[in-house]
Every structure is written in C-alpha cells, then in structure tokens.
Symmetry: C2
Subunit: 155 residues, 2 copies
C-alpha cells in the first residue's frame, strides 16, 4: 500500500474509533484524540501537536485529555529538560480490560438482583427470567478469572 493511501486509511480509522467511543459516552473530540493516539505511527503527541492535528481549541484539548487520563486510557510522560507533556495511549495489562468488563457485569448484576428482590411475585414471568440471567451472569463472572489465567499461559 502506498504511504499516502495508508495514512488516509489511518485517518478514517480515527474517525471510526471516534464514533465507536462516542457510543461509550465520550464526547466527539475526546473520542477522536483517543483514536489519534491509538492509530498513528507517531505514538507520543504533545499538547500543542494534538491541538494542531485535531484543529481544536486548547481548552477542548485540555478537558479531553484530562478525561482520558482520569479514565486511565491515556497517560503522559515528560522528558528531562522539556516542560512539555507527551501524551500516549496507555498500554497496560490485559487484565485491566477484563476487570473493566467484570465491573460492568457486576454493576448490572446488582441491579438485576435488586429488581428480583423487589418483585411482589417471585414467580412472575420477569422474575423467573431475571433469575436465570442472574445465575448466568454469576457463572460468567467466575469464568473471567479463569480467562485471566489462560491469557497468562498463552503468552
């Protein structure tokens, strides 16, 4: 693939990642900055470079990056004798991703169990269905730990 073509496709991917992450509750600019830091060959961008590249205001960049940092998705490093922050995509352990999924599942499980507890008729249609869902989710969550171990072996 030609260089120009490749870079064009990378930009398209940024947009796609952007849309995907908007659906997870990120704001447009934030989602696209994340895409930038994931797909481009340059993997460390300064604040100014991000502002420049994305054509956004400093304030937007500031809040977006703060959000990404708080969520543990992006981090910055500094180099001695250089006051700039170099932002990059956090490449932590895969465990982190599983934990995230596990937490979300657990949150939902709590809600489902609450619904069940508050039902007047414990054998109503929804009660019964929610009970099987609840059991299923518990089983699932247990298996996530096994998966973590399986990953480690694989590597």
């Amino acid at each position: 693939m030609e260089e120009v073509e490749r870079i064009k496709k990378q930009k398209e991917l940024i947009e796609q990642i952007g849309r995907e992450h908007e659906r997870e509750g990120f704001q447009p600019v934030t989602a696209r900055i994340l895409g930038l830091l994931m797909v481009m060959d340059k993997e460390e961008y300064t604040f100014e470079e991000i502002v420049e590249e994305m054509q956004i205001s400093k304030s937007s960049a500031s809040t977006a990056l703060k959000n990404l940092e708080i969520r543990g998705i992006v981090e910055y490093i500094t180099y001695p004798g250089d006051r700039k922050r170099y932002f990059r995509f956090v490449s932590g352990e895969i465990d982190g991703l599983i934990d995230e999924m596990e937490n979300k599942l657990k949150r939902n499980l709590v809600i489902i169990n609450q619904i069940i507890e508050l039902k007047k008729d414990p054998n109503s249609r929804n009660s019964n269905f929610l009970k099987t869902i609840s059991k299923g989710m518990e089983l699932f969550i247990k298996n996530l730990d096994n998966l973590k171990i399986a990953y480690k072996k694989e590597q």
Copy 2:
C-alpha cells in the same frame, strides 16, 4: 418491607436502570420505559398506560417503544378482541446476551486488527500492545461458546 416502601424503591430502580441505559446510547425516556417494564410488578403495559405512568407524550412513547422493539428488547402481544398492544420486556434466551457481547467484541477486534495492519512499524509500542490485545480478544471470543454450553448444563 412495607408496600409503599417497596414501590418507592422500584421507582428508584427504574431511574437507575434509566441512567445505566442512557450510557448505552438510549434516550432518557426510552431507557426509563425499559426500566418500567423490567421492575414493576405489572409486567404488561398498554401504550396508554405507559404514557400515563411516565407522564410523556404519545409521540415520545411511540418512538421509544419502536426503538426498544427494533433492538429486540421489548415486544408486544395482543389479546383476541382487544386492539391494544401490551408491551413487555422480552425474556429470550441468555444466548442472545452473549451473542450481543460477542458481536461487540468482534467489531472491536476488527478495528484493532486494522490499526495493527496500518502501522508503519510493526514493533512499535502500540503495535506490540495491540497485538497482545488482539490475541487476548480472540481467546475470549472462543471461550464464549464454551460458556453458552456451560449455561445449558447448569439449568
């Protein structure tokens, strides 16, 4: 628990489910209707009852219910000699939930593989990290099928 207290808690849960589902891209009204159909003891609501209960316009109810239906989360049934639609929470197979998760994972996997393919340096920091993520996700997706089988046994 007293009846009044119980119902109060159910209403709170509707709100909570509402917020949780807004983060999945549902609009507020839609998310709360879903909550209503999940938590209340009355598990079949007519269009009019939903309008009444949620204090919303008929048009909002109409679009919200259509959305929930299209997504396969809510369905309606009719009774002979009664023109009204009775809406209720779909209580399908648990497989559906797993499939949903699987599809989302697969979509993300495609994107990640595209990022990797478009990298100039296949051994850059992000390239390497994304490769391990990609492998991990593949393993995960494979395991989902085993989980489906495990559920069936459990029951």
